[in-house]
Amino acid sequence: MMKVLRAIGRLWLVPVTLVAWEIVTRTAEQPFFPPPSATLARMGEMWLSGPPSHLLLAEQALDDFGPSLARLFGGWALAAVLGVAAGVAIGCSPRLSGYLDPLIHLGRAVPPPLLVPFFLALLKLGTPTQLATIVFGIIWPILINTIDGTRTVDRQHLETARVFGFSTTQRLVKVIVPAAMPKIFAGLRLALSLALILLIIAEIFAGNGGLGYRLLTAQRTYLYTDMWGCLVVLGLLGYLLNSAFLLLERRVLTWHRNARQTT
């Protein structure tokens, strides 16, 4: 009960801000800043006016969210697989990391949106370019965290593995990767929020459908309520993704949280 009250206590700022925003926009009457109530109504119209059999989702919602979410998760999953695999390999081999460390730091320093024209020249317009932009933009935190996690496995954990003659696979799967998991997860979470940003950038530059494209067309055709709707839904999406990931992280890393508390 106390918990619920405290949660509500912390949330009071949200309605207050919304009401203030509503009052300000209504008195200012600027077309660029529609009141939140109008934005919400427009969002309902755009995306939630479908038949109940489709969970109220309008066709427009599928057109906007479908490709965007597919790119987002596709890019994130691809970056996760590539980043973790490469990170473990580099973290385990001092030689490999000696060669690759400068390249990694150079690659990380390149602002990913700059590469959209490069990928556009290299790949087809649309999904391939967008995926490449997302993967290239978000792989760095995953890669660097995995390398770091793999390198800093407790020496005694590794020696235990050596003494008991673990095979290479066993050492990787049972010792090194689990030990690096807290850092890998930190990288994955950072990458997820970056993925949303890059998704929108990629869809604006190389778009054919999706939320970013929708945002751009709304802005270009002076549909400011639509544009605000897109902004709000992107914010909500980011919040939801982060919360869902935290939930997953809490389940997978129970041992980590508890081990840290007791020692």
Binding site: Q156, R162, V163, F164, M181, A259, T263
Partner: protein, 258 residues
């Protein structure tokens, strides 16, 4: 069973082991005691094959240690780092048994049997962070037992637990070592403990370590935390080991007995 001859090891220009020789017969429990930082752990790590000593020879069952031998288990010092915190107790114990070619069910059985021996049968599905330090160290011992090594190395295994737990663990080691026929090398800085647990006590000097004395412990097979520690023989031997650890020379009373 274990034969260490003239073991020398240096880290850079700093010599830590300066010609250490000792032997342990089949089934014997040898305690190595010495002042802190004298190179005891280096000795153990050389025997385990974790480091390659600068000089000298280690034979286990007549075989020179070149890589990590497969008939050897180690119980490390720091309980909070010796188990894998992402695995339950049973899985921690069972994991090394893959090397023994056991299938999943047999590994689980062997792990349960070993946990039972250390009195933790009902903690099998607990995670290390759900257990006290003493319990974690018991799991660590169970892991070594389940592996069925012919040589068990223990590196200050009771260094980081409270006194009561420490006594329980000492008795546990005595019990399991008598039950399994394995040779045990126990490293400790605790003089009392070395005399109480050991069949023999090897005293090392201050760094660089040499063997200061190799003393048999004539306290009989069965030992008791209270009664044994009151015996004259125990008190005398403890005083002797204490003197040696502090850098004294062997006294005649002990030497006379041989």
């Amino acid at each position: 069973m274990l034969e260490i001859t003239d073991l020398v090891h240096s880290y850079g220009s700093r010599r830590v082991l300066d010609g250490v020789s000792l032997r342990a017969a089949e089934g014997e429990l040898v305690c190595v005691v010495g002042p802190s930082g004298c190179g005891k752990s280096t000795l153990l790590r050389s025997v385990a094959g974790l480091i390659r000593p600068t000089g000298g020879r280690v034979l286990i069952g007549g075989q020179p240690v070149e890589r990590i031998p497969d008939n050897l288990a180690v119980v490390f010092q720091d309980y909070s780092r010796s188990l894998y915190p992402w695995m339950t107790a049973a899985n921690n114990v069972a994991l090394p048994l893959r090397r023994r070619g056991l299938d999943r069910r047999r590994r689980r059985e062997a792990a349960m049997a070993a946990l039972d021996q250390v009195g933790l049968a009902d903690a099998a599905d607990k995670y290390p962070w759900e257990m006290s330090g003493g319990m974690q160290q018991r799991v660590s011992i169970a892991r070594a037992l389940a592996y069925r090594p012919s040589l068990l190395l223990m590196d200050e295994p009771f260094g980081s637990v409270d006194a009561q737990t420490r006594e329980d663990l000492e008795d546990l080691v005595l019990r399991v070592c008598a039950h399994h026929t394995m040779t045990t090398l126990l490293i400790t800085h605790d003089i009392d403990e070395s005399v109480y647990v050991g069949d023999r006590v090897v005293v090392l000097t201050r760094s660089p370590a040499r063997v200061a004395a190799d003393l048999p412990v004539d306290l009989g097979e069965s030992r008791d935390q209270i009664a044994t520690r009151q015996l004259d023989a125990f008190v005398r031997l403890r005083a002797e080991v204490g003197r040696l650890v502090r850098g004294g020379s062997p006294t005649s009373t002990v030497l006379e007995k041989h």
